[in-house]
Amino acid sequence: MENLVQIALENVNMWAIMPSIILVCFGMGLLLINAFLPRGATRPAMWISLIGLAATAFAVFSAWGNPQYGFSDAVALDNFATFFNVTFLIAAAMTILMSDDYLRREGYPIGEYYPLILFTTAGAMWMASGTDMMTIFLGLEVMSICLYVLAGFFRGQVRSNEAGLKYFLLGAFSTGFLLYGMALIYGVTGSTRLSEIGVYLNAHSSLLNNPMTLAGIMLLSIGFLFKIGAAPFHMWTPDVYEGAPTPITAFMSAGPKAAAFAAFLRIMEYCFFSLKPEWTAVLWGLAVLTMVIGNVIAISQTNIKRMLAYSSIAHAGYALVGMVAANEIGYSGVLFYMLAYTFMNIGAFAILVLAGKKGEDNLTLEGFAGFGYKRPLLGVAFTICLFSLMGIPPTAGFAGKFYIFAGAVKAGYIWLAIIGVLNSAVSLYYYLRIMVYMYFRDGEEDYAWMKVSASVVVSIVVALIGIFYLGIVPGAVMDMARLAIF
């Protein structure tokens, strides 16, 4: 018995979960501290959470090239996880930076906001480093539950309530599918460890045609596809993105989505590599559907926040293309794309946060008329983010798309690549429309009410640096993405 405990403890290896431990500690500490802070004093909480993220960053970076495995291989802090962890940290940090003034403006200066973001990030990290269905599930739920709260954070605003509730109900529903899928796979293979499942399925090829396996794979996928926002499981995305507080929308579209991709990628590659041709075929269809639906519906949107929500669906579609390619380039393309998307999307949302006016009633296209002249620097920043979202060089968006489509072409999915670029062409239209309003039309709004605080500026500058760094000299990061995949 003692022996067993010792064996168990030897297998624990706390380093494998060190980043999330730090985050959770900071989060819980912050919860306590909040209790003693006067109401409305959120600034210390912001700083503490930023410090927490910085501390986590150390733990994350130290794991690069130095993989840690723990908990009997239920957790693996390998390069793959680390790459995603960096993405989460950046997303969280940018979100926190843009949130403070926003919360005050909207009348919810509540300190619990920051710990929730930290917990979400921790959950995302578990997802990225989970190598057991249990850890992945746990991470997913930690992340999701925090997000439900964050989406409905403005509890006095019915739109925020609605976003939270919708997200919660549908999220829980999708969790049901995910779990059922996991249960079926467990039933077939007798294990929840990803690598064991893969080995087992590979060894017993008769199971590859077992309806239980196949249904399990699909149900499992649905759980992740829901979080990714792939059609037809995307329907919550626009509503929740629109209703949630803008920084949370930004965060949701980058961090948790990347986490879902991370877990999805790992499960598909670790467990179901034997069925690759089959599931890539399904994902092919979903990728096309997702890109088309996202881009096409975005065209008729007049609320920029909602438009970006649809665009985020489309971007999930592009990233799925990388998964369909299912080769090294495609996978590392997904990694790179998620990082690039984090910069450009959160950068764009940061400007929406500023331009939103109290109550977020200035997010329509009309509201942006003449924005480029009234606020030239912010206008340029927004423009750059939008060009990056379009995928125009030399921005991160282009590099990311190139990476992913290169993977698809290499894998022989020429038509998928063509559909992808055609979708890009469609997407140009609605992104351009924002610029048309910003620069080519004169508006009545004078934006005198706009308060630009240093922290938001930092967040925007980080976004721009990221966009150009990943766009002009993406080599280093692309190479990291290459090294990050299994």
Binding site: K166, L169, L170, F173, S174, F177, P211, L214, A215, I217, M218, L219, S221, I222, F226, A231, P232, F233, M235, W236, P238, D239, E278, W279, V282, I293, V296, I297, A298, I299, S300, Q301, V426, Y429
Partner: protein, 660 residues
Amino acid sequence: MYDYLWLIPIMPLIGCIINGLLGKKFIKNEKVIGVIATGAVFMSFLLSVKYFFQLLGDPVKTHEQVVMSWISVGNLQIDWGFLFDPLSALMLLVVTGVGSLIHLYSIGYMHGDPGYYRFFSYMNLFVFAMLMLVTGNNALVMFIGWEGVGLCSYLLIGFYIDKKSAGDAAKKAFVVNRIGDFGFLLGLFLVFWTLGSEHGVWTLNFVELAEHGHLLGFGGTAVTIATLCFFLGATGKSAQIPLYTWLPDAMEGPTPVSALIHAATMVTAGVYMIGRMNVLFAMSPTTMMTVAIIGALTAIFAASIGFAQNDIKRVLAYSTVSQLGYMFIAMGVGAFTAGIFHLMTHAFFKACLFLCSGSVIHAMHHALHHAHLDDDAQDMRNMGGLRKKMPITFITFAISCVAIAGVPGLSAFFSKDEILWWAFGSTRGSWYVWAIGAIAAGMTAFYMFRCLYMTFFGKQKTNAKAKDHIHESPLSMTIPLMVLGFLALVGGYIGIPAVLGGANHIHHFLEPVFGHAQEAYHIGIKETLHHSHALEYGLMAVSIGVGFFGILVATFMYMMNPDLPGKFTKAFPKFHRAVFNKWYVDEIYDALVVNPTKSFGTFCWKGFDVKVIDGIVNGLAKLIGLISAGLRHTQTGLFHNYALAMVFGMVVMVAIFVLR
């Protein structure tokens, strides 16, 4: 030897640049401008004369001078090169000689015009281009001149920029010429390509073309098509059927322009070009035949229109077209020398006629202007009896009239007669060409005398108020008249045919240019006719007779019975209207070419571009928009729909995956 040959064309260019750049702001003085311009051309003339006499005594008759390379791409090597041989020497004399006179004339004629400097600048530019045309040693340099004269013609026809009709005429001239140029270019391409790819001679140089042209083979398809293309170019430039319509309209320009460009020089460029490429043309009997027939038809057709025109310049214009037809008859039947000879005599008498008419118009215009009348200064019905008021003009006009009518002893008699003789007797000729030519000669005599009578004889029909203000033109205008009149009188004596005991100098002079081709392809008077002087005399007599008949009819109708033309008109109203309206050719062209092109353009723009292409593009955008607006409503905001979509997606995915 001929080191300064390049100076001949350059002199007028310098004049053009000086007047063009400095004329308005710095020189201003009309006299100085006129002298610069005239002087420039006159210098060229002097140099041409010098070189001409040098050439006369030179055993080598062909001289080339290459200034520098122009276009050099692979096997296409084009130089800025000049060619001086008897043909270009003669043309140089005509162009610079007549050109200087007309410049001199213009000093007086254009007096007081606000665009004085512009006029002389354009005129000099024209002379430059014309000289490039005649001295170029390859087809491309010639083409520079070819298009250059077209441009100057455009500028000068449209010189009175206030007049819309002038602008229209200018544009028409340019565009119609461009149609000809299209042919010229194709001809160039075909010759260059055929000679090059099949015989390895990549050249556009005239000397080399003359030397190697035979490689194309007598009567070959390529050479026939190429020469027909060239001839299309010639019909444009030289106003032959079917592209003659621009020339009568071109009379909108100032009269010296008409004299220089549309009588003496530019319009003869087509004739010159055929002369220059005589080797190629000689190799294609088909083309030669076409040239002769087109020339004959033009000669008679234009003459017929000349019957009913009342505008003095238009009469002369149609006469020019008709005379050019003569020259093409000559070229077509292989009488190259005769063609060039007629070109020269025509330059004298037609320039003289135009300048006389200019003198008349000038006087009329001043008189009418003085009397504040709006009557048409060019309408012969407003003239009459001017011989007393403008004696010098009258005499020179009359001399030229007699000359053009083919009265023996005057210049045109010799040239025209030689053409008719060749038309009948050449190996490439035939009796019907001769017959048409002879009839046209009679018609020419008729309408020219009609013109003479209406203008200078009879009652003075000018409005009484203006009558007394008509004066003879100043000396600067009458001197050129007199010189040209003199030339029209005696110009023919360099080409008195052997049958009349002449030496036919011009024939011998041009021998080096044309002799080779004529010999090689058996072009000449038929063997059977070689010694039948009687026939030659007989034909001569017929043509003289026809000419006199024309004069008599004109005298009868317009001198003796001035009422007769009116009656005649009434008797055949339709016929008269058709002739008066130039056989409705312009209208036919409008209906067949111009309007369809315009409607096609409108269709392409409003129909195809806007409706079809942009319709598809915008329609696609709209379609996507509609799809978007439709799909948007799938997003109902209702939980149940979303959950259902998920379940539906799940069922489909699982079904596909499991049942695949």
